[in-house]
Amino acid sequence: MKYPVLLFISLSLVFFLAWSSIAWSQAPREEAETTAQHLAVLLNVGRLIVDRNQTLINDPRKGDKGFSPEVFEHEVVNEFIRQTHMDLKHLPSHLPSLAKEVLPLLLQSSREVVADAQLVINQRGIGYKNFIPATFGSQAARKFSNHSHVKIKQTALNPRNLKNTPDAYEETALKRLATQPTSNTSVTDWIDNETTLRALTPIYYSKDCLACHGNPKGILDISGYPREGAQEGDLAGAISIQIPLKSQ
């Protein structure tokens, strides 16, 4: 009677220890994945706000456009609430600590990009200023990455800016995304012995994008790059996020 009880207790202990260690290692992974997802949404929201204000930004008749960093931030916060039900100014307590750390940083970086661009945005007599979702996104991602161990980058299979050229992982993931039907789901993988999260959130061409990226293919667009000949819904690129687990 004594031995079966001892055996049961020992087995329970072993099982408990094994389960808890899995749970411990699983928690930071889930946190990283959730954080990557929110970061991608936030960068996309910033791009969306720039896109929504594009006509105003490109208005040559107006000097001060009123598209200040404060106005931009206000619109981003509201849109983020609409998409995620989360207030960036009062992040919910259940959010992973990493997300609580990096989401305000990305918001701040995005705001700084709009602040830096004020001289360009507020030029009167100049229409197209190249302050578009893509250039905004590149700079916001770079500013953010300079201040965080989490790295964000915009990438595409044939990027106009060579600094956005995909690495080997990104290229494989982009090719995979290009063959799949349109979806908001990210491609996520753990690489380097499960120590680094790589997440790619696809960006698709909308109607507005086609003025520069659509047809006729090869003809230069307003910024001097050859049009890609893309169709609405084609894969434009992705937001690539890299979170190393050890550094957290």
Binding site: L119, N122, N130, S223, G224
Partner: protein, 354 residues
């Protein structure tokens, strides 16, 4: 209070503050020494404290360059946003790169000399230069037009010649009026006389402070001169309607082709461009910077000799290109100084006292 009591108090304070208290006291005392400038002068003779402008640029690692915020396409394009941030580009910007590269070599090549562009209003460039905030400025500035060289500033040998002041119009009647004057001169052309008669009574706009303004003031007596803060301000002017805009011919040639298609260049009767007077552009620095002046002249001579300047001129004036893409590929970042937060191209006002 007697001198004795002051000395006593001072001794007491020194005792309290210890040996460290003496230093600030001596400095404070030294400041009131009459004739202390003589001591500095004597020290300078033994050990020069100031360096020449070239050594200063080398040790700073930066070349402080002024550039006009008013766009003078294709010399300076309006600032655009790129993946790398805000950038400015144009022929003048490419020339600044050349100067900075040559300075890097001059300074030993260990660390690159970074051009720091100070974007400011055209009229402020001269002030900034005189106040010592800039090493030089490059903003399609003509040095051979009478009145264009402010005292204390030095102009390099030209990096852009065969330019000159041109004119653009909207209404064909204006061109016909000028051409009629040329027709009267069959056999002995006199551009100035034809222009003076042809533009008589018309509203002519020029940018305030630029060489076209000086030309119009001096040579076009019978016009109604409208002075504008920038070229775009002149284009936007609706009341009164502008008959003619005078400015650098190369700039007008570019903007009539690429920016303001409603405007056209004023030409001679045979269709060749009408240049009102010749003008060449120079790099500007202060009169005292003799070493920098020789450096710039020698560099410009070498760039001309090697065909590099010609290549740059053709690249910006003749090739078909998108300035935004060039800004993204090769543009330079800049610091905004003395430019209002919301840059405005300004207004136009009739010249007074004519």
């Amino acid at each position: 209070m007697s001198v004795q009591s002051i000395t006593r108090k001072l001794r007491h304070r020194l005792k309290e503050s210890g040996p460290h208290g003496i230093v600030p006291l001596l400095i404070a005392f030294g400041l009131f020494l009459p004739g202390c400038g003589l001591i500095f002068d004597a020290v300078e003779l033994v050990q020069p404290l100031t360096r020449d402008e070239m050594s200063a640029i080398c040790s700073r690692g930066q070349l402080r360059v002024g550039i006009s915020v008013e766009p003078f396409r294709p010399f300076v394009f309006p600032a655009v946003y790129t993946d790398e941030g805000v950038r400015v580009t144009g022929l003048d910007v490419e020339l600044i790169r050349e100067v900075a590269d040559a300075l890097t070599t001059y300074c030993g090549g260990e660390k690159p000399i970074v051009p720091t562009l100070h974007l400011t209003r055209f009229r402020d460039l001269f002030i900034e230069m005189n106040e010592g905030h800039l090493d030089l400025f490059v903003s399609s500035v003509g040095g051979n037009i009478p009145g264009a060289r402010p005292v204390g500033l030095w102009f390099s040998i030209p990096y852009f010649h065969n330019g000159g002041i041109g004119a653009m119009i909207q209404r064909p009647e204006v061109a016909e009026k000028v051409r009629a004057q040329f027709e009267k001169q069959a056999g002995s052309p006199d551009t100035l006389a034809a222009i003076q008669s042809g533009l008589s009574g018309l509203i002519v706009a020029a940018q305030r402070g630029r060489t076209s303004h000086l030309y119009a003031e001096a040579d076009l007596k019978n016009i109604r001169l409208l002075l504008c803060d920038s070229l775009p301000a002149a284009i936007e002017m609706r009341a009164p309607p502008i008959d003619v805009v005078v400015s650098t011919h190369a700039i007008l040639d570019y903007v009539t082709k690429h920016v303001w298609p409603d405007w056209r260049l004023l030409t001679r009767n045979d269709g060749t461009p009408l240049v009102l007077t010749q003008e060449s552009f120079s790099i500007v620095t202060v009169e005292e910077h003799r070493r920098l002046q020789w450096f710039l002249n020698n560099l410009l001579y070498r760039l001309e000799e090697s065909g590099r300047l010609e290549h740059m001129r053709r690249r910006w004036l003749e090739e078909d290109y998108a300035p935004t893409r060039r800004a993204a590929m090769e543009g330079l970042p800049f610091e905004v100084s003395k430019v209002p937060e919301h840059y405005d191209q300004g207004q136009c006002r009739f010249a007074t006292g004519r």
